[in-house]
Symmetry: C3
Subunit: 358 residues, 3 copies
């Protein structure tokens, strides 16, 4: 073996490899199957009715069960990792996550990204890359688009460029840009579909719900989920490497936390049947196998939907909390001078909107 000719293998892009306006066509298109949806249920315990039963989907105007937009997001996100974030120090945030139309089992998505912002850090070793990613289906229709920014390593020895080209990001996906599936019609919806829970008209802005149930993450759970999404970030899989990291453990993919929190939120928000947008979010602290995740939601806004009298768009702030006593929610975040600071038990703060029965 000593005389083998070692070839380098792909390493993903480094900060200095990115150029404003660069278009990245990500590898490996992916057909979403009925089995993806079933596995998503097994991985998260999600019970939102539109994704569980053909009869419910049909009664709501769909020809088949639509794919859960959270699942769609994870699969699309996973595609971008190999190019965008393989050398990431941290995923800093995302914004403007827009769902353009429903996906169904059998649809195939392809994902590409455009580099829309670059900012070198003053340490000269890293920089922040902003990308705008777009997932299209087999008919070349956009099904999802989103922006995210990650801190990425520079290659060793590359000179400073002091580049600082940022694009401003919207703080929210405005209601008019949240596509309501045209088929969606709740005239035949039965209260029992979602356990006779509260409807949009039962909530007021400022209402909060602690969702009671907790779910403990097992190593296989998050590994299976992250592999299902073909997200190949090494920090989720390679314990030998992570032995030497700060926490000594594999990191749980932040998207798995989002899905667990969303699944837990069924208990209280069971009528929040359709994810219409994610405005932004941050993974405030890391999660590891063994952590028990809880979730809490606060209603931030309730809006009408034009032409759909039985629906409201409800904007929700969802917090993910780990290993904490559910009765004790006062301390979750506090002001630290001018900065909002999360308690170390808070692992997620997600700002998203759903369609909810009125």
């Amino acid at each position: 073996m000593q005389n083998n000719n070692y070839l380098p293998t792909p390493t993903g892009l480094f900060f200095d490899d990115f150029i404003i306006g660069q278009k990245l066509v990500h590898g490996v298109p992916r057909t979403i199957t009925e089995a993806d949806a079933t596995l998503y249920t097994a991985l998260t315990g999600s019970r939102f009715a539109l994704h569980c039963a053909t009869t419910v989907a049909n009664s709501a105007g769909f020809s088949a069960m639509p794919v859960d937009n959270f699942l769609l997001f994870h699969i699309a996100f996973g595609k971008t990792v190999n190019d965008v974030s393989l050398n990431a120090v941290a995923n800093l945030g995302y914004a403007e996550i827009k769902f353009a139309q429903p996906c169904f089992a059998g649809d195939t998505i392809s994902v590409s990204s455009e580099v829309i912002g670059l900012k070198e850090n003053s340490n000269g070793k890293t920089g922040v890359v902003y990308v705008h990613s777009t997932a299209t289906n087999q008919h070349n229709e956009i099904v999802l688009s989103f922006k995210r920014w990650v801190m990425v390593h520079k290659q060793a020895g590359v000179a400073a460029t002091n580049i600082n080209q940022l694009q401003s990001l919207q703080a929210e996906v405005v209601t008019a840009e949240q596509v309501i599936p045209s088929a969606l019609n709740l005239a035949q919806w039965q209260d029992s579909f979602s356990d006779n829970q509260r409807k949009a008209s039962d909530f007021n802005v400022g209402d909060s719900l602690f969702h009671r149930d907790g779910i403990t993450i097992n190593d296989s759970d998050h590994s299976l989920a992250t592999r299902l999404y073909q997200n190949n970030a090494r920090v989720h899989f390679d314990q030998h490497m992570m032995d030497d990291s700060k926490h000594g453990k594999r990191l749980v993919y932040g998207g798995h936390i989002i899905s667990l929190c969303r699944a837990l939120s069924y208990n209280g928000l069971g009528n929040a049947i359709w994810l219409s947008a994610i405005h932004g979010g941050s993974h405030c602290n890391p999660s590891f196998a063994g952590d028990t995740i809880y979730s809490q939601s606060t209603i931030k806004e309730i809006s009408d939907v034009e032409g759909k009298d039985d629906l409201a768009i409800v904007r929700i702030e969802m917090l993910g909390i780990k290993n904490n006593n559910p009765d004790n929610m006062d301390y979750l975040y506090q002001q630290d001078g001018k900065r909002k600071k999360y308690h170390s038990d808070v692992v997620l703060d997600l700002d998203y909107s759903v369609l909810m029965r009125k």
Copy 2:
């Protein structure tokens, strides 16, 4: 956050919420997919041939692989948890589990329950609730019905009612009530389908089999299974809460133990191709991740099937055993005065009937 308006989230029913005759329509209808069946194989290792191959199912008269009735049971059971047993102290038992007709991938089941018995305990803090649950398919045909009883907490401070209204339960599902799938026809069955194992005519009442193989439960295994069934009982998922419980560990859903024992029983009972009824059962001791499960079966009864010469109904007592030497099966249960008492290694005693090749 301090000025949020905290709304209560659903907690499930307490003993004092139940009324005799009350009808509970459980949430979230569920389409059973081909992927559920595949995942069931991955979770249990089951090898009963009718559920493994289209060719075998076709040769036995079915248009497609029927769904394993154990899987069907778990999904239907899971639906009842949110209303019936979220505040359960213990699942005490079940009876009269009847399978009315085969299910196939694509069928959607909806589940409702009627309260048929209530008995307050003398401690004033708990009571036993008896329910009769019925699962129907998308054509509104009954596919499964069963009775179960659970000990449920009363709400704090509710006065004693001394209610004691019990309905008598059948000790068995009589043979005439065990629906034989009309399509089922073994004329083309090949001995190799089930590894040339013993047929009904090779067994006598009183024969016992120790099934040799053992299977160790991993945390992800039972969590994935229980989430797949959308069974949201907190004791299976929330380690943070269970840290303070008697055993300090998450409990494995008893139904997962049933499925493991049934899967292990293939080795010896490979011709027990179709679950026709569960007469009753009890989870004698809890199981936890790390336990290795073994199983043993005893033939209790062998009956003819009218009009199906190639089939017998065989009634079986299946014991589940954990972490024990398979060669040492004498001690499994013993008389304790008048009471049958199980050794602490016995985790399951299930009384069920199967259709077996003659």
Copy 3:
């Protein structure tokens, strides 16, 4: 229970049960579903594009996504365990693994084996059994055949036979026997499908690639995989039994290691789109849950494909390595006198061929 009549349960065959020329028809035919393919992705993280997207498969001439031949192999292999290797001391090797034609979701495979070699060991307690196994589909067409040899226990007290009837095995599946799917046509293939990676024409014999990514095995991962394949070898599942074994731990099914290494090899060999043959392989050391697996490939041969100008057959030696520093690959194997000896971190040496884009 003391007066039960204990019947023996199947134990698999012992060395003295095998006869040259014996035909074993293995139990439980198996329909391969779309869900098997999805679960395979979740279990391994595999990203080879032909198996991920209908659009890619269609563009390559297939009517649907073909089943990954590694998955097909594991399912076929699993079928043989119950008869051939339940009493195995060790799986010694395999050879001549030939894929006769593509499988698709919905195909049902049945597996049988012929005993082609027997050699009693001088210790009188074990012997080596050689079998030739064949998997056929529902049309009775051969889809896969392979030879393997295992060391199997003799039954206690059986007299020595000194049998020594070996058949010579081919060192490779010659190119002419590697069936190229007739549909396969890469005229429409896009570079982005496989992340713009190197093609066959970019490689030379002797090139080596270390595939960077590592994957840590969790207990549930390998258990789920092995159950999915209905491989019932006790060493993979029964921790209670394995407590007393040399390593005190359940062994990971060697085939799972193969699949992990293959999945990892996407990073560098993403254009190796189709497994055309496995020439041979050995599991050099055992793997356990907790081990992190890495993989390294060396190009051994590059051949043209008659009538397919856009394809080459590339023969690869793939090494699986556990818990080792990827930068430190010199020591992997060395000469020990005349014998090639692997370092204890090497868990796999697989000699296989793929179709690769030119």
